[in-house]
Amino acid sequence: MSIKTVKSTITGNTYQYIDNGDPKSGTAKNVYFSPDRKYVVAIFKEKQDHNQKERLKKITTDYLSRIKNNEGGNYYLDEIYRWPTDIIEDNGQTGIIVPIYNSKFFFNKGYANQDLIKGEEKNGKWFASASFRNKLFPLNLDQSELGKWLNYFQICVNLSRGVKKMHQMGLSHSDLSYNNVLVDPLTGSACMIDLDGLVVPGVFQAEVIGTADFIAPEVLASKHLGKTDPNRKLPNRLTDLHALACLIYMYLLHRHPLKGGKVHDLDTEKDDLLSMGEKALFVEHPTNKINKIKLNQIKKWDKYWADTDKLPYTITGPYLSKLFEKAFIDGLHNPMQRPTADEWEIALLKTTDLMQQCLNPLCDQKWYVFDNSNTPKCPFCDTKHKGTLPVLDFYYQFKPTVWKPENHRLMVYNNQYLFQWHVDRNITRNEKLSAAQKVPVGYFTFHNNKWVFVNQKLTSLKDLTEDKEIAIGEMLEITDNKKILLSKEEGGRVILITLANK
């Protein structure tokens, strides 16, 4: 074992790594850890040509500083990406410096019944697949690793932001899959790794077409054509959006959106190429049902989540349902129609405002999306909600005296917080929020058999129904049909209350 020192070819900085003769090894790189375990030195096994080095240089200089110097820079670099920060040369071999993975992305326990994967990385596949969540599966993941349904929405928000940022910078990932994303359901985190292969426009074309399950239909359908054929489709921003939609669908519903029962060819390989490519069809297509999942042909471990009648995509709520339709019906063979990463982020966040905690303490998912009915129940364990449920609909001022709906709703649960982005139309809930903007402005609670809102920070809160100002530190009662003005400032919203489940 020895400590080696290597030098950057860009900055002249030096880095150290421990060489114990047995590096972590992937297909392309050998990976060594720094003595302080803050970063790794990943050395390419193959010699990198001029173009490859140029790409690495762009990624570690231009693009890195663009992320760093923009709003939310720290969030992206600490949380969302393991972005390469420098290039080194070592005995003629090229390497990159990458911040080390956060410890939350290693299994604390792993399998429920044995230690085989304890300490291993939390590759996204563990949490996309249904088997590992099934307690009867011999190698099921421990309950302490699985998180709650709400956490999977957070994972998807983080992932969407990661893709959004790349696309804003003009980069496309081109090989988005669960292998390149680490996931931690406990904290709702997702982290994109292996970013040295990004497609930098003008400098580098895609070298891979992607990973099975996530390759866009147009890419598969044209895979037999030569690379210079004008009809050949290679990965780009729009194919990333297909992969993103698949990932979100899989993290929330633990099944694949295109893998249904339809057989297109008796040859397995051909069949697969057709059903993921040219003939791809959403398993939950509302009118064309030929690719519906056949439950009797599904592994017994996967049946619970494969049941699209019991758990249709619509359990993800109205905003996401619309996007799944856009991605897998309208946009499946029409890439321009696919929802952007930005749209996914917004829809996911709005959906978390619709979520309720399941009252059944044994429910595996613990949270569900309000189904807009008067008698809500958890789709996972069928437990009905007990007691009234306040539903808040947001309105914005279109012109004096005319208020229009925002198509945004907030479900209230006990001890739920209200935030600036609910109050003020000019504040968007995204990674750019300042710490001050993330402080709640008040909370809802069920107190003496009544729903109340306690005002902590709103300076011009007014109960319009009772024509009464509510000062900071005071509370107002939440009753059916009440209208409340959250702020008199420009952009301040009005909420209309409906009490469901009366």
Partner: protein, 211 residues
């Protein structure tokens, strides 16, 4: 949904007695553990192990990886290598095990077949007879591993182009070989190149691939 069946035919003839069989057991259990730590492999892999010496034994019928229990493999102190007879059993098993595609049901992936031997077939006639039949089964890949000086590469080449020769059957070599085997099995779930797909990942440098 689709299963990926993988068949291992393992030589347990007399010459494997002693250290080699220990090394084989070791390497196999290492490989199974590696596969059982891989969520993709756990999703689709089914494994069968057939041993052959004078007798042919299906010691593990085709079983889902998560349910798979690896038994200790033993071998007699002496005796012939009935590779041909093993191929006969394999031929029967594959025909029964594999779920074929029908217009209403998706079938299995093309199965993979790994043959490990340290000698040459003593039932050469049967062996040669079985070769076209085995080829007709349409395996996704047939990979033969010949370990030690006595293994005959050229006979194995009649069965497949993919013959890997190991200089000996010690623990380190076998471990490396079976690591490569698991990488080969796992390959389908990795990123795919833009060009033609390559059938096998490069074998570790310590192994000579006879092509």
């Amino acid at each position: 949904m689709r299963r990926l069946p993988v068949y291992f035919l393992l030589d347990t003839s007399g010459s494997m007695y002693g250290e080699p069989i220990q090394a084989l057991n070791n390497a196999l259990s290492g490989m199974i553990n590696a596969l059982r730590s891989d969520p993709q492999a756990l999703d689709s892999l089914w494994i069968s192990i057939i041993t052959f010496d004078r007798e042919v034994n299906e010691i593990c019928p085709l079983t889902e990886l998560a349910m798979f229990q690896l038994p200790e493999i033993s071998c007699p102190q002496s005796g012939p290598t009935h590779t041909g007879k093993a191929l006969e059993i394999l031929y029967e098993k594959v025909q029964v095990d594999i779920i074929k595609s029908t217009p209403s049901q998706k079938g299995d992936w093309k199965p993979l077949f790994f043959l490990f031997t340290d000698g040459k077939p003593n039932d050469l006639l049967v062996y040669r007879n079985m070769i076209p039949k085995i080829k007709s089964l349409n395996f996704g890949a047939i990979i033969c591993c010949a370990a030690g000086a006595l293994a005959d590469d050229s006979l194995l080449k009649e069965l497949t182009n993919d013959v890997v020769h190991l200089d000996n059957a010690d623990t380190t070599t076998l471990k490396q070989f079976f690591k490569w085997v698991s990488e080969t099995i796992e390959q389908g779930s990795k990123s795919q190149g833009t060009g033609e797909s390559v059938a096998l990942p490069p074998p570790p440098s310590e192994i000579t691939l006879v092509i």
